[in-house]
Each structure stands twice: as structure tokens, then as C-alpha cells.
């Protein structure tokens, strides 16, 4: 993301970045809090598979988000409001590509009317 910024790459202004040391820190409580506090979608972007500085933080996050996605589907909501991506630190365009994917999936969910209700 830093690389994307340094290279002045553009992305949707709706994207708000919350830096964490590791995607493994993005626990489900935090994600639910973000959604409850007004985020339309949460995309967790971690290191590439096998490249975690903390051994397997990205995998932990992926597995938890997989269960969350299942939960959302069980409740009748789109699971596209929570996603997990990977990006390469040296290539800003990978992060920007993820941002674009987050927005595209959110728009589809909004179109389908399956996003979480406001202020739940």
C-alpha cells in the first residue's frame, strides 16, 4: 500500500486503510465492529501465502474470515462484504487491484440488496 501511495496510484476514495502489523491481527471482533460502526465492507489484505513474517498470520486470518463468510450466508447476507486478499509489498498495483475488487464486490451486494442493514 505504501508502494501504491509512493507511485501515486489512484483508487476509490471510499477506501479507508487501517494499518495492522499483520493480517492475523484482523480478528473477527474487529471486523464486526467495523461493519457495525459504518463500514460497508471489510477487506483484509495480508502477505502472499507462504510469505508471512509471523509464520502464518495471513492463514489464520483467511480461515477465520472463511467462517465469517459462511456465517453471513447463513443469515441471508452477502459474504462479499468481508474478503481476504494478498498483496506483494513491492508491487503497489496488487493492493490497488484488491481495492478495486473490494468495491466491485460491494457494489454487486448492494445491487442485490444483501448488505447488512444500517445501524444494526
Amino acid at each position: 500500500m505504501n508502494t501504491a501511495g509512493v507511485a501515486r496510484m489512484g483508487y476509490d476514495t471510499a477506501i479507508k486503510i487501517v494499518p495492522l502489523q499483520c493480517s492475523g491481527q484482523a480478528n473477527p471482533q474487529l471486523i464486526m465492529d467495523a461493519l457495525k460502526d459504518g463500514a460497508d465492507a471489510v477487506g483484509v489484505i495480508g502477505c502472499c501465502i507462504g510469505a508471512c513474517h509471523f509464520v502464518n498470520g495471513n492463514m489464520l486470518s483467511m480461515h477465520r474470515i472463511k467462517l465469517m463468510k459462511q456465517l453471513f450466508k447463513e443469515l441471508g447476507y452477502s459474504d462479499q462484504q468481508i474478503n481476504h486478499y494478498t498483496a506483494r509489498a513491492a508491487e503497489g498495483e496488487t493492493a490497488v487491484g484488491d481495492f478495486e475488487d473490494i468495491m466491485a464486490r460491494l457494489k454487486r451486494a448492494e445491487h442485490d440488496g444483501t448488505t447488512l442493514p444500517e445501524g444494526w
Binding site: 473477527p28 502464518n56 489464520l60 480461515h63 472463511k66 459462511q70 441471508g76 486478499y85 444494526w120
Partner: protein
């Protein structure tokens, strides 16, 4: 805080099974305070009471009645998980049923969650000795030991005869004991994973999901390419070993907290709360759920569910199993009579006999093919009445008053019970 000067206790039964309401029969009758039991709170005359005990789940339509109760009571106690978070009935919130937590209306209510509500804890709370944090952890009372090592597989059933020492979670068998308090029913002693009816912490569902999601880090999770020239890996949307291992996340991790932790669901409702609770659940979880919310009909409901699947899939049971099941059905009719007569002695005696056979009042020992743990005093060898690991077969199953349909994953897609809604 309630104190020893309590002179009157009024116990209300709102919507539920209503086992917690029945369990209050066990409150010692020689106490100085008078106990009034109100089965229909809407018709309550509003007489001032020192302690109001609320049992059963609440819906928005109950708010006015609960407000009236709170206004006329020195202290409100929410007894049982249904009163606190809607209990297992709260699973119906996935299909749009709205519930109310007692504290949303009675803000200072003492919460005593548990399924079944623990009458001794209620007794202490009436004396002014409500349980205080930090609570004792369920895991600290469990004979199994957890290593919290990463798992490579998730399983939906385990053979009851194997390994008495390893934590269920260590074996990939999701158990919510990590987020649960020490309890009386203790399903874990009956080879049944805990579902945290008595939570140790706030937001137990999402935290247990987080914990289990972490534990299964070595299970194969599906990824896909994001596409484009700068594509990387993205978590895939399709099924994988994680979702196949836990096909019912809400039913496993949020069984007792769904309405308070998650937004109201949008899944199409069947119009029947019981059907809404059971639809979406995994077949191997049905016996415990029925044991929890079946109330005075819990035994027959549970056995109907079990026998329907056994008959439909050709699972044979031994005479020992049949004898114990008949015994349980007989005990069910006895307990109904005891409740009808408000006979605390008979009620207490019958519940002890049920616990002897079924393990606890949630009937955790009872399963497909037999029983999960040794029945005390049973002369036959465990092999003769041991529960069986079932295969998940798509189809419609019916026995007694119960009928349900399963999909290929073993999840309920339709459920009806013709006795009580």
C-alpha cells in the same frame, strides 16, 4: 442487589420450552419468602414483589410487560439463557424473528444464563449472592486437556469409545468450552461438545469463531486468483474443507447468542419458531438441541428425531437401548404430572432419574444408535448400547410427531413438530 430481607419472589414464564420455569420448583419451600409462579405474565396483576424472576425468551411484544415487572420489583433476575439472550430459540433470528434481551428493558437485571437454568444459582442470587466475575472456566473442570495446536482437519463426529483425554478441539471437533463457564449440566462429560449456554465472556460467538478459525489454520482453505496482470491470491467463495467441517457456523458458535451478536437475518421464515430454529442445523446436533428446547416434551421430541433417522437409514438399536428409551419416555410422563401438580419432590426425583439415564437434563448422552457414555448401574457392556457415528444421507425422515428433511451435507432444510410450536 437482593438481600436477606426478601419476602416475596415472583417467577414469570415467557416464551420457551419452559424447563427453566419448571426448574424453579426446586427452590427450597421452607424459605421466609413467598413464591408466586406466573405462567401467563400478561395477566399478572402487578402486585409489588421483592424479586421478579424472568424465565423464557422475550420478544418485542413482551417489552411492556417486562417494564411493568421491572417497575414493580425490587430486583429483576433473568434466569436461564433464554431470558438473557433468547437461548437456542435465538437461532430463529436468522429467519427474521426478533428477540429481546431482558437487560434491554430491565437494565439492572441480574443475568443467570445456563441451559438448563441452575436453581441453586438462582437461590443464591435471591439471597444477594449473584455470581461475580471472574467466573470459573469450564475448561478448568474438564478432564480433557487442550494443547491448542493447529489442526489439519475438522470432524463432525467422534467415536465415543476413543480417547478420553484429548480436548475435543484438539481433535478437530468444535467445542465452545473455551468461552464457557463451569456449569451444572456439563455436556462435555457426556461426550458432547459444549455450546456455551453459560458464557464466560462477552460476545462468545464471534470470539469462539475466531478461536476455532485460528485453530484450523492447517486445514485446506480454498483460494482463487484475483485476476488481472497484478493478480494475487484471494480467499475463494466456494466450499472447502473449513466450511465442510463446520457447515452450520451460527448453530455451532452462536447457538446461545445469535440475536445479541449479529444483525437480524434475512432468510425466509417458515412462520414457525421451532421450525426456524431447527432449519439449517446439522443432523448430529439435533438431539442436543431438542434436549435443550423441547421442554416438557424434550425426551419424546429428541427420541422422535433420533428414531426417524435410524428408521430411515437402517440403523439398528439393541434391546438395552430400547429399554432405556422406553424408560425415558415413561419418565417424561412422570415429570409432566409432577409439574402439573407443582410437586417439587416428585419433580426433583424424576429429574434425577432422567439425569441417571440421559446424563443431564439436556439429554446429552442420548444419540443415534444408543448412548454416548456409560449409564451408571447398567449391567450390559457399553458396546451393547454405544452410540454410532452416522452417515449423512439426504432425504425426508419422519417418526412420531417429528418430520424433517436433510440435504446432502446433513443439514436440515425443513422441520415440523406437530405437538407444540
Amino acid at each position: 442487589m437482593v438481600n436477606a430481607m426478601v419476602e416475596s419472589v415472583t417467577i414469570f414464564n415467557f416464551g420457551s420450552c419452559p424447563k427453566c420455569f419448571d426448574e424453579t420448583l426446586l427452590l427450597p419451600s421452607e424459605e421466609k419468602y413467598a413464591i408466586e409462579r406466573v405462567a401467563d405474565p400478561a395477566s399478572w396483576d402487578g402486585t409489588r414483589t421483592d424479586v421478579a424472576v424472568i424465565t423464557g425468551y422475550l420478544v418485542p411484544g413482551d417489552a411492556a410487560v417486562v417494564e411493568q415487572i421491572a417497575a414493580n420489583a425490587g430486583q429483576v433476575i433473568a434466569f436461564g439463557t433464554c431470558a438473557v439472550t433468547a437461548g437456542p430459540f435465538g437461532l430463529a433470528s436468522a429467519k427474521g424473528t426478533k428477540f429481546l434481551a431482558a437487560r434491554e428493558v430491565a437494565k439492572d437485571a441480574i443475568e443467570l444464563p445456563a441451559c438448563l437454568g441452575e436453581w441453586f444459582e438462582l437461590y443464591e442470587a435471591i439471597q444477594g449472592n449473584a455470581p461475580q466475575r471472574p467466573y470459573k472456566k469450564l475448561c478448568s473442570t474438564c478432564k480433557r486437556r487442550s494443547t491448542c495446536k493447529f489442526l489439519s482437519e475438522v470432524v463432525r463426529q467422534l467415536d465415543p469409545a476413543t480417547d478420553e483425554e484429548s480436548c475435543f478441539n484438539d481433535r478437530g471437533f468444535a467445542c465452545n468450552g473455551y468461552v464457557a463457564r463451569q456449569c451444572k449440566e456439563k455436556c462435555i462429560d457426556q461426550f458432547t461438545p459444549c455450546r456455551a449456554c453459560k458464557p464466560l465472556i462477552d460476545r462468545p460467538g464471534i470470539r469462539m469463531l475466531s478461536m476455532f478459525g485460528t485453530l484450523v489454520a492447517n486445514v485446506e482453505v480454498a483460494t482463487e486468483a484475483t485476476g488481472g496482470i497484478a493478480g494475487t491470491d484471494k480467499l475463494a467463495d466456494g466450499p472447502d474443507d473449513v466450511t465442510r467441517g463446520v457447515p452450520d457456523v451460527s448453530g455451532v458458535f452462536f447457538r446461545f447468542s445469535l440475536p445479541v451478536e449479529m444483525p437480524l437475518g434475512k432468510v425466509l421464515s417458515s412462520g414457525n419458531i421451532l421450525s426456524n430454529v431447527f432449519t439449517g442445523r446439522m443432523i448430529e446436533e439435533l438431539p442436543l438441541i431438542a434436549g435443550m428446547l423441547g421442554g416438557q416434551n424434550a425426551i419424546s421430541m429428541q427420541l422422535d428425531i433420533i428414531e426417524a433417522y435410524e428408521q430411515g437409514t437402517g440403523i439398528e438399536v439393541t434391546d438395552v437401548v430400547k429399554t432405556h428409551r422406553n424408560n425415558l419416555r415413561e419418565l417424561e410422563s412422570q415429570i409432566m404430572t409432577a409439574i402439573e401438580n407443582s410437586d417439587a419432590v416428585a419433580y426433583g426425583g424424576t429429574t434425577e432419574q432422567i439425569r441417571q439415564v440421559a446424563g443431564n437434563m439436556n439429554l446429552s448422552r442420548v444419540y443415534f444408535g444408543g448412548f454416548k457414555t456409560v449409564i451408571p448401574g447398567e449391567q450390559a457392556s457399553f458396546e451393547e448400547y454405544k452410540a454410532k457415528i452416522i452417515e449423512f444421507k439426504q432425504g425426508t425422515y419422519q417418526a412420531g410427531n417429528v418430520a424433517y428433511t436433510l440435504d446432502a451435507e446433513g443439514k436440515v432444510t425443513d422441520f415440523t413438530w406437530s405437538v407444540k410450536a
